[in-house]
């Protein structure tokens, strides 16, 4: 269709010298640079932009300001783009969201025409589609297809880069209307770093769209903005206001996370629709929308118009549209006593006290019926302008922590209290002018009267919800979904409150109805913008790439990537038992505790004793919470009188640093805690040949006499300064070597070389788990949980209740000791060759669950399935037969054992 534009005029946004073409449902459409998708389509003849959410009713442009759901479209694969605030771009592909097969012929429309008993009235999910039960899958398929706005293509992969930028400014102004521009200019002129965000294509608000009168003032303000250096983000929108005045601003493919010192809300007011029959027909438009089309895009919104209003804004609209060339036939004013002379002076018929009954027409507006006390007047028209008064845009005030109150004079909500740093200016803050009463809805009509355009909620739906007992705005909202759509109530907050007040016989001005909460996101927002560049921090040890390059299967282990195995967990475990293995344990937490009070500090933090430790020795310790539960374990090496080196579990590293520093902050003892987890790489060289292999790389005497089990010594190994701890998590002679990270890969390679004659194998986490299980060494967090105390966990020897000093966990553990044990952590061997699943249950005498399997593996070395379990005390004796459940329904008989499965006397460790 040919582009029909009005003659060029000052204030228009379009650049007629630059044509831009795009496709709309497969057909090429062209507009001008400066057009929105909506204005270009409207100019080329499009009147139906979408189908409604539930009934698939035709919807045309209503607000032209990004406030209503009527023009949501799909642009280049992205659903729910607001056509009325999105500039056109050459070659963009625009499609409708939810019609089938097309916008003009949508069979899903039939859903709304079905008889009420099978229709989609409120609560239909719970009422209509429950019988017969087996038919639900079919209903669901149909309903899912019909409901919703747009579809996501699960195969779609984003190719565009989305950006996230953190911004600090002194002042952020949301809204580029007159008040926002003034506030921004003032702030910037006072030397404050100021940014302004506006979602329209032109700054100025009504100065820009309200006709030629505002242009001089707008030019003045824009001039001040430029010379004061205000940063302008436009078109862009604030997605919400979060605590601490955090404001995400979306501009194109960028999310700006603003943290302004001061936030100015200048979001203005939003013109409201009126509620009457067929008030959603294409051609029914807000006054501000029609004026935007005429004044900014130079498009005729219609040939012949009727204005229905309840405020003076209707007069403004009528005069401005008439001035722009629209033939305005009549203005029907719901107020009986307003002064309509201004309209009459413009030669327009003025009907005082008339409210709209219904719009006429099937596919578009062809007329309107207005009524006053039963008297009716009919008009033919192709544009029906609604001017239902406006409400302040206060969503950001409440989101940011402020409150609003109902102002009876203005008949709208205004800001009441504001959070620190927030200011509200302009009409969002309220106007001084008193407002007339607005009719809640039309007198009885058989047509649908839409209250919520997003969710297709009618006056009848709200009435029904109240009849069914949901007798408040909040309850009705949850039942009917009124105000819950993409516009978050901007088009229906006011009207839903009025309808409910009327139904319940309440005075709408007495504030007894309340208002629902408008939550973020303020506008439809793509997940790509929310995700932008994702950060997923990953910890890598100094030998990460060596593992990956040598067949290590790198898996997430907490924040780390660690090798699960190098392809053959069994033979890796065998290598440790029979000759030599090497594992990277750099992920262990490592802390230095240093100072005159270091020993006393550790004595207060652990159930163990450390003050009596000899120098150059290492000891196993557990850490308990004050509730007596085991929260971590590891080793403590004494390096000097005042210096200890502590290792923690890998997953507990960060938590233990916090735990240690926390108690030190409380006790203020004379010692320092330094976390050296990052600084130090650590490898465990283990197996019968560990000594011989390692001795070749160092002058340090590794003989059993000079460096026995639980020794700690410093040495140069292959030129690298190391701390060697002789400990044995995996049950064989072993040396845990700690060294500077930067030398990690070097030493690893040297150790592998030195182990070559002994067929050394690197081993991963899985073989380590089998090896430690053979020794019945627990893993904190797997074999223990928040209820595990060291007495029941089989470590009473660690708990020194006779220590003179107080220590963390002492009183709870004393309490447990007085109470007596109820459960025990024991080892078990399966008797039928089956391997129980970890987490499965131990079955009690009554057939119910009595205990829990925490670790379970098949040990090739031992030729049987072994594990650890929590069992009640009655089942915990060495040699007790227990029954383990299996997900298959079968059971697995097993025998309780207290001694380690492998090398129970630790001879190999100490050799």
């Amino acid at each position: 269709m040919a582009d029909a534009r009005l003659a060029s005029r000052q204030g228009e946004l379009i650049d007629r010298s630059r044509q831009v073409s795009f496709t709309w449902q497969g057909a090429e459409v062209s507009g001008y640079a400066g057009d929105t998708i909506a204005s270009a389509l409207f100019a080329s003849g499009t009147r139906v932009f979408s189908r409604s959410f539930k009934y698939h009713r035709r919807r045309g442009l209503m607000c032209c300001a990004g406030q209503c759901p009527n023009c949501l479209v799909n642009v280049d694969g992205e659903p729910t783009v607001r056509a009325c605030v999105t500039p056109i771009e050459q070659g963009m592909t625009v499609n409708h969201l939810n019609a089938w097969p097309s916008l003009n012929r949508d069979f899903l429309h039939l859903v709304g025409r079905l008889t009420p008993s099978f229709g989609m009235q409120v609560g239909f999910y719970y009422k209509t589609f429950i019988h017969p039960k087996r038919a639900w899958p079919l209903y669901e398929k149909v309903l899912r297809n019909a409901a919703g706005l747009g579809k996501l293509d699960p195969e779609h992969r984003r190719t565009d880069r989305y950006e996230k930028v953190h911004r600090h400014v002194d002042v952020l102004v949301i809204g580029g209307g007159e008040a926002g521009l003034e506030a921004a200019a003032e702030a910037a002129e006072a030397g404050k770093h100021t940014a302004l965000v506006d979602e329209g294509l032109a700054l100025g608000g009504y100065l820009a769209w309200g006709g030629p009168n505002g242009h001089a003032r707008l030019d003045e303000l824009l001039g001040r903005l430029t010379s004061a250096g205000v940063e302008i983000l436009q078109p862009a929108f604030a997605g919400g206001v979060y605590e601490g005045l955090l404001v995400p601003v979306y501009q194109g493919r960028t999310m700006h996370r603003f943290r302004p010192a001061e936030l100015v809300i200048a979001t203005g007011a939003i013109e409201q629709p009126l509620v009457f029959g067929n008030n959603d027909l294409p051609g029914v438009m807000l006054g501000t929308a029609a004026r935007r089309l005429v004044n900014q895009f130079r498009v005729m919104p219609g040939e012949e118009a009727v204005v229905v209003t309840s405020s003076d804004e209707g007069f403004e609209a009528a005069c401005d549209l008439a001035d722009g060339g629209v033939n305005v036939i009549a203005v029907a004013d719901a107020r009986p006593d307003a002064d309509g002379s201004r309209v009459e002076d413009a030669g327009i018929e003025y009907l005082a006290g008339f409210q709209p009954l219904q719009a006429k027409g099937s596919k578009a507006v062809s007329g309107v019926v207005v009524t006053r006390n039963g008297e009716r007047r009919s008009f033919g028209c192709d544009l029906l302008v609604m001017a239902g008064g406006s409400v302040g845009h206060t969503a950001f005030v409440t989101q940011g922590g402020g409150t609003i109150r109902y102002d009876r004079e203005q008949r709208r909500y205004v800001p009441d209290s504001l959070p620190k740093g927030m200011r509200v200016v302009g009409s969002a803050a309220g106007t001084a002018a008193a407002a007339g009463a607005v009719p809640a809805k039309a007198p009885k009509t058989s047509c649908k009267q839409i209250v919520c355009f997003c969710e297709d909620v009618t006056t009848k739906d709200i009435g029904l919800s109240l009849d069914e007992g949901f007798r408040s705005l909040e309850l009705s909202k949850r039942y009917t979904t009124v105000t819950m759509g993409p516009c978050q109530g901007r088009m229906c907050h006011r009207n839903s409150g009025l309808v409910i007040a009327e139904e319940l016989g309440l005075d709408p001005d007495a504030q007894r109805v309340g208002v629902t909460t408008a939550r973020p996101p303020h506008n439809p927002t793509s997940f790509s913008l929310l995700a932008a560049r994702g950060y997923e921090p990953v910890k890598r040890t100094s030998t990460h790439h060596w593992h990956a390059e040598h067949g290590g299967k790198m898996l997430w282990a907490g924040d780390w990537k660690r090798p699960y195995d190098y392809g053959d967990a069994q033979s890796e475990a065998d290598a440790v038992h029979e000759s030599l293995g090497l594992i990277d344990v750099s992920t262990l937490g490592k802390l230095i505790v240093r100072g005159p009070d270091a020993a006393a500090f550790l004595e207060r933090l652990y159930p163990n004793r450390f003050g009596d430790m000899k120098l150059a020795r290492v000891r196993y310790g557990i850490v308990c919470g004050d509730d007596g539960s085991i929260i971590d374990d590891g080793t403590v090496a004494r390096l000097s009188d005042t210096e200890y080196y502590v290792t923690t579990t890998s997953s507990g590293a960060g938590g233990m640093e916090q735990w240690f520093t926390w108690w030190n902050a409380v006790w203020k003892m004379d010692c320092e805690i330094v976390n050296v987890t990052s600084t130090i790489a650590a490898f465990n060289l283990a197996g019968p040949n560990a000594r011989t292999a390692l001795q070749g790389l160092t002058d340090f005497d590794l003989s059993n006499e000079a460096f026995p089990y639980l020794g700690a010594g410093q040495a140069q190994i292959a030129g690298v300064p190391c701390l060697i701890l002789r400990i044995g998590f995996v049950g064989e002679l072993g040396y845990e070597i700690h060294l500077p990270s930067a030398a990690g890969e070097h030493l690893w390679e040297k150790l592998m070389e030195a182990g070559e004659p002994y067929a050394v194998k690197p081993f991963g986490l899985e073989p380590q788990r089998v090896l430690r299980l053979e020794k019945m060494h627990i893993i904190v967090g797997q074999d223990t949980n928040a209820e595990s105390n060291p007495l029941e966990a089989g470590m009473p020897w660690i708990v020194k209740l006779d220590k003179e000093s107080d220590w963390i966990g002492r009183y709870a553990i004393e309490w447990y000791k007085n109470r007596g044990d109820r459960f025990a952590l024991v080892g078990w061997e399966a008797q039928n060759g089956k391997v129980p699943v970890e987490g499965t249950q131990v079955i009690g005498a009554d057939g119910g669950p009595a205990g829990r399997i925490t670790s379970s593996r098949f040990s090739r070395r031992l030729g049987k399935a072994i594990g650890i379990a929590w069992v009640p005390l009655s089942m915990s004796e060495d040699g007790t037969g227990i029954t383990i459940s299996d997900p298959s329904g079968a059971t697995i008989p097993a025998t309780v054992t207290h001694k380690a499965f492998y090398d129970p006397d630790g001879e190999r460790l100490r050799s």
């Binding site: 605590e243 601490g244 919470g625 507990g652 520093t661 002492r810 004393e814």
Partner: protein, 103 residues
Amino acid sequence: MSFILTCPNCGPRAVDEFSYGGEVTTRATSSQDDRALFHYLYFRTNTAGDQREWWFHSSGCREWFQAERNTTRNEVLRVGRPGELAGAEAVPDAAAASEAAGG
């Protein structure tokens, strides 16, 4: 939660730089009084109003401090290094502590 918390060392930062340490409590020092011990270990006042609590600047200086926060408005009234805010003996919140240590 996106409020701003002022670290006594590093200044105002987004709250996601910190770990929460729970209410400031008074430690029970006996196993004889069940009620007092359990109260310390498992009961919290869960104040709707001004509350003294522990925070750890985990992404920053990695030091502990205390804050007084209005829990209904998430407004931080004042902060101080341990011992700087006058009040009862301040020890870690046993329940929150175990959680922090476990993670």
